[in-house]
């Protein structure tokens, strides 16, 4: 209960931190907020030109641009939010030393700022679906589930990363390598069929990967117009639970020591 009342009390602060992030990110750029839509569109255009050629021998993927953008939206949100949130405690050092604020607000607000970008990239997805004349079915509404999963998972991961990064700064440099590997182990760009000849352990990791589950559910409801198998939802919920539990535990354990290390 205390957690909830604290959260309500600092609701305004979260809003302000998110507004601050967005304002400072696009200040002085000519297109401003428009970049949040334009960026995923341009990235998708580049990748789909390159890779639709490479993957054509695995049979035609229906509507490759939408297939790709679905994966990108999910993965990029996770990548961006956790990368920014990881440094949030370290960068708020001056503040944490001088004012008492619940410290988890910093990583959580960073995930929410990225969430605004995620919503904007939904606009990009709609644009691509309209342009490619994709079939739109009512299942599209179920897209809130995979989006909620990836947000919860990112919050958990961000709590963990931001707390660990305070005493283990090398993580800031290492994490970029880790997310690159993670991207190749998630079917963002490639079709699942490409894994037919891959070693079994690779297939195992790809299927265990929480982001794979989120992306698969997302593609089911948006691209294929069917509901996703229950097992994917169970897998997603279990991963979210693990991430939140581990993240909250590690963060709580180490938060009193932050001020001595930043």
């Amino acid at each position: 209960m205390k957690f909830i009342s604290v959260f309500v009390k600092y609701r305004a602060l979260i809003d302000q931190l998110v507004i601050r992030d967005i304002k400072t990110k696009y200040r002085r750029s000519i297109l401003g907020l428009f970049w949040t839509v334009l960026n995923p569109l341009l990235m998708m255009a580049v990748l789909s030109i390159v890779f639709s050629y490479f993957f054509s021998r695995y049979g035609n993927i229906d509507n490759f641009p939408v297939y790709l953008l679905c994966g990108q939206v999910i993965f990029n949100f996770f990548n961006e939010s956790t990368t920014i949130a990881m440094g949030s405690i370290i960068h708020s050092g001056e503040l944490i030393k001088k004012v008492y604020v619940p410290k988890y607000l910093f990583p959580v607000s960073k995930v929410m700022s990225s969430g605004v970008n995620l919503l904007a990239s939904m606009i990009a997805l709609v644009i691509v679906m309209v342009v490619t004349r994709a079939r739109v079915t009512p299942t599209v509404l179920l897209a809130v589930f995979p989006l909620a999963y990836v947000m919860l998972f990112s919050v958990g991961a961000s709590l963990f990363l931001s707390a660990v990064a305070v005493s283990f700064r090398d993580l800031l440099h290492l994490y970029g390598v880790m997310t690159t590997a993670w991207m190749y182990l998630t079917p963002v760009i490639y079709p699942m069929e490409i894994l037919e000849n891959a070693p079994r352990w690779v297939v195992f990791i790809v299927n265990l990967n929480p982001l794979t589950a989120f992306v698969k559910i997302f593609r089911c409801v948006v691209l294929e117009g069917v509901t996703a198998p229950a097992i994917l939802h169970i897998q997603s919920l279990v991963w979210c639970g693990i991430a939140l539990a581990v993240g909250a535990f590690v963060f709580r354990k180490s938060q009193d020591k932050f001020i001595l290390k930043i």
Binding site: A12, K23, L95, K98
Partner: protein
């Protein structure tokens, strides 16, 4: 906790780990780790400090550099958690340990008022209502929509002070902030602090300027190397502190 008290500090000790020496090689690191030869040296910034401050009191903390004054303030403000002991406070605290700690330099004065206000815990409606008061006290009417990276340090301090004191807090914590700004603004600040004191705000004040402590505070606590050396009327404590025979 007694009802008449605003702050109760009980047996507070604070320990910091100082890095003792640099370890240059992995070999050295392993040897030291195996021998459990701490890479750290303990430093007790505060040792069994206890005191009570009554509601509406104004108390100055005096002491040499490094005596533990700021550490004490940070513990009372809730920023640091003491290694041992407890601190209890009643009501809202306006910590002015460094003015404008939460400012974002790319944002304008207007945007920073809402950000900084939210950090202190003010509601957005209240900030909108009192916006003009905040700006006019800080004397920044012409610069409302200028990014504060273009502000002088005096302007930043004025803005910070103005936001922090726009509503009466139950406890006001002031650390060395009256040394910024010109004498005109300093007088304005002192006036506002006095007004808040008249309305029963408890003030905890740290300054190296003994004159300011005597001027503003009724009582004083002298902290010497992490211990409370003397407590009492501001005049007496300050005189004892300034007596060269007592320091050495």
């Amino acid at each position: 906790m007694k009802i008449e008290n605003a702050i109760e500090v009980r047996d507070v000790s604070m320990c910091f780990n100082l890095s003792r020496e640099k370890v240059d090689s992995i070999k050295e690191y392993i040897i030291k780790a195996l021998k459990r030869q701490l890479f750290y040296e303990e430093f007790w910034a505060l040792n069994d400090v206890s005191f009570e401050i009554k509601k509406g009191d104004s108390v100055g903390l005096v002491g040499m550099n490094g005596s533990g004054k700021s550490t004490m303030l940070k513990i009372i403000a809730g920023v640091l958690r003491p290694t041992k002991g407890t601190v209890e406070t009643t009501g809202t605290i306006a910590p002015m340990i460094e003015l404008g700690a939460g400012f974002d330099h790319d944002l304008t004065a207007r945007e920073n008022i809402f950000l900084n206000g939210a950090l202190i815990g003010y509601s957005q409606e209240m900030l909108e209502e009192r916006f003009d008061d905040i700006i006019s006290f800080a004397g920044l009417e012409r610069f409302v929509d200028v990014p504060i990276k273009n502000f002088s340090s005096g302007m930043l301090a004025r803005l910070g002070f103005s936001i922090a004191t726009i509503v009466d807090a139950d406890i006001l914590i002031i650390d060395e902030i009256l040394s910024v700004g010109d004498y005109q603004f300093q007088n304005k600040c002192k006036k506002r602090i006095r007004e808040m004191m008249d309305r029963n705000t408890t003030v905890l004040f740290v300054s190296h300027s003994i004159e300011q402590v005597k001027e503003i505070c009724k009582k004083a606590i002298w902290i010497d190397r992490g211990h409370v050396r003397m407590m009492g009327e501001a005049g007496e404590v300050c005189d004892a502190y300034e007596d060269p025979g007592n320091n050495g």
